[in-house]
């Protein structure tokens, strides 16, 4: 399974990639913002994306990507935790939502379900 991790923080990408490695996922590509992510979606089976990023934010990335792909699961991993934010993300095409701060167990549980 090929997974795309999108976050402007190299720290967060490292933490997410380490957690994915722990659940046996090693085919991972990374992007630092939505614009770069759009160039790396070919053959991707799952996308994990932050919301607040420079150049192109996560919500715009999801909207743009959903214009051409309605099926690939997308999980938003973000500090944006207000109810209206979550509703907006789901309406845009996000399949699941993880709020920062999170424990590795939350990522393992949510992603584990999607990669089965």
């Amino acid at each position: 399974m090929k997974i795309l991790v999108v976050d402007d923080s190299s720290t967060m990408r490292r933490i997410i990639v380490n957690t994915l490695n722990q659940i046996g996922q090693s085919d991972i590509v990374q992007a630092g913002d939505g614009k770069e992510a759009l160039t790396k979606t070919d053959g991707v089976d799952l996308i994990l994306t932050d919301w607040n990023m420079p150049e192109m934010d996560g919500l715009t990335f999801v909207k743009t990507f959903r214009g051409k792909d309605k099926k690939t699961p997308i999980v938003m991993i973000t500090t944006e935790a207000a109810k209206e934010d979550i509703v907006e993300a789901i309406k845009t095409g996000v399949n699941d939502y993880i709020v920062k701060p999170f424990t590795p167990e939350v990522i393992k549980e949510k992603i584990g379900k999607l990669v089965k």
């Binding site: 402007d8 923080s9 720290t11 380490n18």
Partner: protein, 150 residues
């Protein structure tokens, strides 16, 4: 300031595996140098407008980021700067959620990070800067909030 106290404790416990001790809040003159060695700063716009900053002494930054990344770090480098930005983002975002639950809505920007002895954190002029100090055995860090209501 309670949302910032709760969000800071939540982020530090969940992501950095520490239980910082909170000390007595104080007002700081923002024209003076920052209290820490490396600081993350974030703008806030909405029903609250201003800035939120997290400022870390060297020892606290190295320890917290070592725990955050699960790797040994010995100095304030680019990894620490990036992690400080992300911790600032998380504390601000968690506080935003608490405010939102009280029907106080605002948006947060992308954090910027500055470091070095005697650097200055530029808050909005003429607004008070309230500082929540926290301590872990390796050093102190400070959560600064400077904003006005709409």
């Amino acid at each position: 300031m309670n949302p910032f106290m709760h969000s800071t404790m939540d982020v530090m416990q969940t992501m950095c595996f520490v239980e910082p001790k909170m000390q007595k809040p104080f007002l700081r003159d923002p024209s003076q140098p920052a209290t820490g060695y490396v600081s993350g700063i974030m703008g806030v716009v909405g029903e609250l407008t201003g800035t939120i900053a997290l400022s870390f002494e060297k020892g606290a930054a190295v320890k917290l980021v070592s725990n955050f990344l699960s790797m040994d770090i010995s100095e304030v480098d680019d990894d620490v700067a990036d992690a400080v930005g992300e911790l600032t983002n998380m504390v601000s975002g968690a506080a935003k959620k608490i405010f939102s639950d009280q029907d106080i809505k605002f948006n947060i920007a992308i954090p910027t990070v500055v470091s070095g002895e005697n650097h200055t954190i530029h808050h909005v002029k003429e607004l008070p800067c309230i500082v929540l100090p926290f301590e872990i055995p390796e050093g102190k860090f400070f959560v600064e909030a400077s904003f006005k209501t709409k």
